[in-house]
């Protein structure tokens, strides 16, 4: 078991005469047995980060420590890590059994019987004992995925590295494997880094998530921290589906002037803004209330542009009516609400749910208030858990 520490890790690539910065001074630590998900848009440096841990990519500057030992200069096979590739990278000419054996044969002196025994055990564990003598080409995507996992697990590594392992599966299988991977990780209790661009996987699987953009770490924290207390506008927009609504505002004292509406802040909230005059207001779709008529000061009359029914809820695309503007706000209302395109209503933005970001830097100035006392318990817990 091991912990990992990234110390000012930087990676640049040489593209002709141009130097491309892939990872920029990354600092983070992963505790022993933790499941860290690195998430970000494509090209953000997440796969490069993983490959540096694996030793498949050199570190340009900085250092990665495994249990306090520097990793740079060590060959992949000397790092005691195992990796699952997006393409699975199974050896096509070997049977499942041989695929799993290969790593142990190459890197250990274990006797044949012991290797054989381990293969059987892992086969049982992953529910594929009947597939051991088949070749990868005869297996379905989900089965190949299990074999790739088995090949990593069997080596009993200090760290698992998973590079978008579920992206080639269909939606139903992906959801199943997501749960299974979590179960396996809890069972094995091995430090795991999981790279994905899918924020659902990030939210549901990780103990913590690290959000990367343009090679820079934006935030690292538990999924709920990243969701409710994003450190900047990028994180706020990246986590959550549909994305948080952002409205550019010019601030005048306690009033925010957007293109399509004005919003009056309380003095307490306005105090968070200091002297900032350009502010981006963020509000999650599920926090917007849609009411029949504008009755309160901050209520904004809107026209419903599009309704996307999902059954359990409806996504409404709302256009504020007061001023001419192309701003659209997405709101989620309950599925059994009667609403149609072209309806006239009003949206209410509760101030406690408003996020405010610096208009220039995107840095969070004030996040929504989540009060521990407001969380409704499903199960009563004792104070110490």
């Amino acid at each position: 078991m091991a912990n990992l520490r990234f110390d000012d890790v930087t990676k640049t690539f040489q593209d002709g005469t141009e130097t491309v910065l892939a990872v920029d001074e990354l600092n983070m630590a992963i505790d022993d047995g933790d499941f860290l998900v690195i998430v970000g848009p494509s090209g953000c440096g997440k796969t490069t980060t993983l490959r540096m841990v694996a030793g498949l990519e050199t570190i340009t500057d900085g250092e990665i420590y495994l249990d306090g030992n520097p990793m740079s200069g060590k060959k992949p096979q000397d790092r005691n890590i195992a990796m699952v590739f997006q393409s699975y990278a199974l050896y096509p000419h070997m049977t499942v059994r041989e695929n799993m054996r290969f790593g142990l044969e190459q890197s250990t002196d274990l006797p044949d019987e012991e290797i054989g025994e381990r293969v059987e055990n892992i086969g049982e564990m992953l529910g594929i004992p009947e597939l051991l003598d088949r070749k990868p080409g005869d297996l379905s995507g989900g089965q190949q995925q299990r074999v790739a996992l088995g090949r990593a697990i069997i080596r009993d590594p200090e760290v698992f590295l998973l590079d978008e392992p579920l992206s080639n599966l269909d939606a139903k299988l992906r959801a199943e494997m997501r749960t299974e991977l979590q179960r396996l990780q809890t069972e094995l209790d091995t430090t795991t880094i999981y790279v994905t661009h899918d924020q659902t996987e990030a939210m549901t699987m990780g103990d913590r998530i690290a959000i990367l953009n343009d090679g820079e770490l934006q935030q690292i924290g538990t999924p709920l921290e990243c969701y409710y207390e994003p450190e900047n506008q990028f994180v706020a927009g990246f986590i959550g589906e549909p994305s948080m609504n952002f409205v550019q505002c010019r601030r005048d004292g306690e009033t925010l002037h957007a293109d399509s509406f004005d919003y009056l802040l309380s003095a307490d909230t306005a105090a968070h803004l200091g002297s900032t005059s350009e502010v981006t207001m963020g509000i999650r779709p599920e926090d917007i209330e849609v009411v029949p008529d504008a009755t309160e000061p901050n209520d904004i009359p809107v026209e419903v542009d599009v309704v996307e029914p999902f059954g359990k809820e409806n996504n409404l695309y709302l256009i504020p009516e007061a001023r001419e503007s192309d701003e659209t706000i997405i709101a989620i209302v309950e599925g059994r609400t009667r609403v149609g395109a072209g309806d006239h209503a009003a949206m209410r933005i509760p101030e406690e749910h408003v996020h405010l970001f610096d208009g220039d830097s995107g840095e969070a100035l004030r996040n929504a208030i989540v009060d521990e006392a407001d969380l409704s318990p499903v199960v009563e817990r004792s104070a110490d858990t």
């Binding site: 498949l56 992949p76 195992a82 990796m83 990278a89 050896y91 096509p92 290969f102 090949r151």
Partner: protein, 312 residues
């Protein structure tokens, strides 16, 4: 109203279908005709050669080449004659063709692996050299080649290691070894290019997975790349066998004559069959077929893979 529209739409669909079918039929007819014409064009010389090989000398003169041999002019004598000239050289040909084929394929595959899947500085320059070697004109190499083998005293070398004391040793083995080395060397460049093209299609992730699994560069070649190269080896074997077996110029320079005891291959023996004052067409045709037999066998053995193409 709607019914009429539906009817109209259906009729239109049927009409389009009929036009399409006509077009398909026309395409089909053209393709068949072309296949027949080309087939006849390609097969007629072969057929003519085969009939000639079974005719007596006078039979050949009195009939057209495409007429099958009638009982009056049928004979097996040209085959016997051809075998007598070519048969002894057949062994020589196989003795250098098979080792040279294996050597060039294996070395080409290793070179391609090193040039494609292992990162090191200057590999592009080396690959360029390999590719340039493919285009060297053969005629320009003949003189340096013969000078090279004069400078390298292979016979003396074999003598000094006591090779000729071995029970199976024969003086002609000097020439055979010269031919093996020559053909293997000249074959490596094209083999490397063929393997390289194939290795570029192999997923890099597989190699990286093997590296993480703890395999060394050589172990990756032996356990992963070599087994995956099987279909490409079949292709290269056919190609190299045909090239080396049918080669004439190097053999002519290195062997010099058609005497099988000096290591002359079939190509030189076949040429011997063609020389002389009178042209014995039937003997030559029979000789050509005898010469072609090993190549045919190789195609039969590896041809399925060759036609299927390369896929791992």
């Amino acid at each position: 109203m709607q019914l009429t529209a539906l009817l109209q739409a259906t009729t239109n669909a049927f009409e389009r279908l009929a036009v399409w079918r006509d077009q398909m039929n026309r395409k089909h007819a053209v393709a068949t005709a072309l296949a027949v014409v080309l087939g006849v064009a390609f097969l007629s010389p072969l057929w003519g050669g085969l009939t000639t090989a079974f005719k007596t000398g006078s039979g050949f003169v009195t009939t057209t080449p495409l007429t099958p041999p009638t009982p009056g002019i049928f004979t097996l004598q040209p085959w016997g004659e051809a075998w007598a000239t070519i048969g002894p050289s057949l062994g020589n040909s196989l003795m250098f063709t098979v080792p040279a084929m294996l050597l060039s394929a294996v070395l080409g595959s290793i070179a391609a692996y090193g040039l494609t899947m292992v990162d090191w500085r200057g590999q592009v320059a080396v690959m360029t050299l390999f590719i340039a070697a493919i285009f060297l004109p053969k005629q320009g190499l003949l003189l340096p080649l013969s000078r090279f083998w004069t400078a390298v005293d292979l016979a003396g070398l074999l003598e000094s290691i006591g090779y000729f004391g071995l029970p199976f040793a024969h003086p002609k083995h000097t020439t055979i070894i010269q031919l093996i080395v020559t053909h293997a060397c000249f074959g490596i460049s094209i083999c490397t290019l063929l393997f390289r093209g194939y290795y570029l299609t192999i997923d890099d992730d597989i190699l990286e997975a093997a590296r993480i699994d703890g395999a060394s560069i050589f172990s990756i070649y032996r356990n992963i790349i070599l087994p995956l190269s099987y279909p490409m080896f079949m292709v290269v074997f056919i190609f190299q066998f045909t090239q080396i077996y049918n080669e004439f110029l190097y053999a002519l320079i290195l062997v010099g004559g058609s005497n099988p005891d000096t290591g002359a291959p079939v190509t030189l023996a076949l040429a011997e069959l063609n020389s002389g004052f009178s042209q014995n067409w039937n003997g030559q045709m029979a000789g050509a077929f005898v010469t072609a037999i090993p190549t045919l066998i190789v195609y039969l053995l590896f041809g399925e893979q060759f036609a299927k193409g390369v896929e791992y």
